[in-house]
Amino acid sequence: MKKILIGMLVILFVIGVAACGNGDATDVSGEVETDGGGEEEGGDGEVGGTLYFYTWSEYIDPDIYAQFEAETGITVVEDIFGSNEDMYAKLIAGVTGYDVLVPSDYMVAMLVEEGMIAELDHSRLEETISYLDPTFTNPPFDPNMGHCLPYFWGTTGIGFNWEDWDEAPGSWAYIFDPELAGNFSGQISLLDDMREVFGAALIYLGYSSGTTDEAELAEARDLVLGMKEHLYSFESDTYEDLMLTGETRLAQGWSGDIFVAQAEDENIDYIIPQEGAVMWVDNLCITVDAAADPERLERVYMWLEYLNRPDIAAQNTNWVWYASPNAAAESGIDPEILGYPAIYPDDETFERLQYLGTVGDALDIYSRMWTEIKTE
């Protein structure tokens, strides 16, 4: 009897652990609490209530929350996601309660397709929209800003250390050419992000960063596999720390992250390679469930308006060090940021930037080849 019991327990454990294999990756926790807005109303005709903001980590000057609350009485509750896909997986699993999301370009298109974000009422944001740089008011992923307002934008380029270079490594060849990569063998990191790695490799090969052509993708896969022996790791969260400690000397990375490292070590710098780079725009989007409730929607529009007020947008940019699509904010932005070509690239460089774009059914091809890259 006892033996059978122990046996059963072990079997239960086996199934349990095997079943947990995927547990942590997709943390589909329950519904976010939304309160009806009945929370302590401030005086002076303030709106009050709570707004649920689902965004990336350290992607807003935290003071702005307090300032907004002081002015409107609305408490902003921040929830964090680590990747577009994490956020998307949570929403598609049926989690509701968020009011404003901050998805990147291609993810906006997916959310629109799936009917998860609401259309933007331009008549309520006329002043706000007039502040925006026209470059960003008709993005390919969301024509005429039908659903979202641009929040910040940036590029995915190369982080490097001036100790190693006389002239900045302005080409993806330093990472993808096996011979050049060999100079820093074992000291190069790539993002642990399927679309970004393929995007950079495809741009280096002269293809579109969001191609759906299997032969082009295969070429990109072979390129990455060819330099893999020189790769330190696939890393998306701590690659700037690795550069700081000297573990890595070259990193594919997001501009803002590299600048965080630069603040601690001025030898670390960022460059947009000559072949071009992936450019992304993160957006402020309204969930359909917030749009269905006039009270929540009122708070949402106040928040969108507030974030785009020129002084607030400038304050925010000075904190996060990404480029703001808000042209009216420029007078308040630190000249050091404005004058930095890696953050505000010149027109010629801007021409060479590409959005990732959605890939539809080709996601399966990406997935399989990414698995090959990661496991071979």
Binding site: A19, A25, A89, I92, E247, L363, Y366, K374, T375
Partner: protein, 290 residues
């Protein structure tokens, strides 16, 4: 031998006592498991929505050289981890079981002490130790075994992953073996010696067979989580040596393919379940023979 409740009162008590466990098992084990099984037979849209189209594609898709290779590699990584854990854990448990009661408890406490720290943090510590600029390389430089321009790359290799898994799971092996060895009836060992068996023979013919249940449960406790591991290969393998667990987690994240992820999970569960059953059966017939 089953405990049969005789009175209504006893039955009630039994039900009350069992209900938290039952609740737990049903809501956090049975239902999620059923969801995974159902999902594994469904289809998904390119945007990751589940489509109610019952089919076997997800299982057929797994029969791909690429995925089979990952499966086999994960199996061997788990196997090596288990064998090394056994080689470290059994002697350790044997030694501990032969100490005085007071010492035993101290050692048990020491063994379990690291468990008080989250394993992700402990794995991070290994990341630092194994880094190019890490303490191990610095020690080697200080001892003049290597020079500064030639530091070893320990981190982000299969070996680092195996080491990380051993570090985390060896405790399970020690505890399982310890439970078995400390319950060993000493008089049997004396009997063996009285019958002129030398220590090696005593160990092989008496101690080992009698402590086999501990070895078995210890091995399963190490093998199963190692096979499905995904945090350790991610952290110590640098995403370069992904295992089957990473493949599953990728399906639930970037690939937006929950049905395929569920199918891989289901395959993993079934293989482990049958593997364990076979293991038990083989063992029982082995026991019957001896």
């Amino acid at each position: 031998m089953a405990i049969e409740p005789r009175t209504r009162r006893e039955r009630l008590t039994l039900n009350i006592l069992l209900s938290p466990t039952l609740f737990w098992l049903i809501f956090f084990f049975a239902i999620p498991l059923v969801i995974i099984l159902i999902l594994s037979f469904l289809d998904n849209s390119p945007n990751g929505r589940i489509v109610w189209n019952i089919q076997l594609d997800n299982y057929i898709r797994f029969a791909d050289q690429l995925y089979i290779k990952i499966f086999i590699r994960s199996f061997f990584i788990a196997l090596i981890t288990t064998i090394i854990c056994l080689l470290i854990g059994y002697p350790m448990a044997y030694w501990m079981a032969n100490q005085s009661l007071k010492k035993r408890n101290t050692f048990l406490l020491l063994i379990m002490l690291p468990f008080w720290t989250n394993f992700v943090i402990r794995t991070y510590a290994w990341k630092m130790l194994l880094a190019r600029q890490g303490q191990i390389n610095q020690l080697l430089i200080a001892l003049k075994i290597i020079d500064e321009d030639n530091v070893h790359t320990f981190l982000n290799t299969n070996a680092a992953v195996i080491m990380g898994l051993i570090y985390i799971w060896v405790v399970a092996m020690v505890l399982a073996c310890f439970a078995s060895i400390s319950g060993l009836d000493r008089s049997l060992l004396e009997a063996a010696q009285d019958l002129f068996a030398n220590p090696a023979r005593t160990f092989l013919r008496v101690t080992l067979p009698l402590t086999l249940p501990g070895i078995v449960s210890g091995s399963i406790l190490v093998f199963v989580p190692s096979f499905g591991a995904f945090v350790t290969p991610d952290m110590l393998g640098g995403g370069k040596a992904d295992m089957i667990g990473n493949l599953i987690s990728q399906q639930f994240g970037e690939s937006l393919d929950w049905p395929f992820g569920s199918a891989i999970s289901a395959i993993l569960m079934i293989v482990m379940l049958f593997g364990t059953l076979l293991y038990f059966r083989g063992l029982r017939s082995g026991e019957a023979q001896s």
